[in-house]
């Protein structure tokens, strides 16, 4: 399990290749990447991501452990950034490996659903008009119920 909470950018290609190269006997690697999305009117100057340092690593490990008990996985990787990010920058990625793609796909989706509302990160959108905390969406909370 490789779980990193960091301010620095990461190289998606390098991380994906590295993760895949560390697997043995796995037939599938699935990755998901989250990117800072501009507002519809193109007004986003930056996104600030705050987290709870004492809890974040533990929460992510708990979510990854839960995924490993539910599906037959080779490995799980999570990278999540914090600090000030700009539109089109990568915020985070998850990677899962499994012998068969179904496990890898489902586990990646599970990880994302729980990362959204059970990992202690908070996003704030900065525009010329000021700053606004991103509100949690009911749809994200509802997404947990399917698991």
């Amino acid at each position: 399990m490789d779980i990193r909470v960091q301010e620095a950018a990461f190289d998606l290609g390098q991380e994906t290749n590295g993760f895949a190269a560390r697997q043995s006997g796995m037939g599938a690697v699935v990755t998901f990447t989250g990117i800072v999305r501009d507002l519809d009117n193109g007004a986003l100057s930056a996104m600030e991501i705050e987290h709870y340092p004492g809890m974040t690593q533990k929460a992510l490990e708990g979510i990854a452990d839960e995924a490993k008990t539910r599906w037959t996985l080779g490995d799980v990787m999570i990278i999540h950034r914090y600090g000030r990010l700009h539109p089109d920058e990568m915020i985070m990625m998850v990677a899962t490996s499994a012998r068969h793609r179904g496990d890898a796909f489902q586990a990646a989706e599970f990880l994302m659903d729980f990362l959204k509302s059970r990992a202690p990160f908070w996003k704030k959108e900065l525009t010329q008009d000021g700053a606004e905390w991103v509100a949690a969406k009911d749809v994200d909370e509802d997404a947990l119920k399917r698991w």
Binding site: A59, L115, K116, A119, F121, W122, W133, V134
Partner: protein, 81 residues
């Protein structure tokens, strides 16, 4: 016991951390103690439905006991990913 605040809870309270020397029995007792302090705490804790709490870095409920607890954190619903 340390009490931590994140995101807009931190902004409303005005600082990221308090050290509490009293011994509230539950999270709710702690919340009531804090609300009685100053209007900015009242502003931060006026709508508990909009708040989440963690006890010693684990998500918890407002009726949870604080016996033996070292750190309590209050924050809005999380927006990771």
């Amino acid at each position: 016991m340390d009490v931590l605040y994140f995101a807009w809870v931190r902004e409303r309270v005005g600082h990221p951390k308090d050290r509490i020397d009293t011994n509230p029995a539950t999270v709710m007792d702690l919340v009531n103690d804090l609300r009685a302090r100053e209007p900015r705490y009242e502003a931060a804790f006026s709508d508990l439905d909009a708040l989440r709490v963690a006890i010693d870095q684990e998500l918890a409920d407002f009726d949870a006991s604080l016996t033996g607890v070292r750190e309590v954190a209050f924050f809005p619903p999380m927006t990771g990913g």
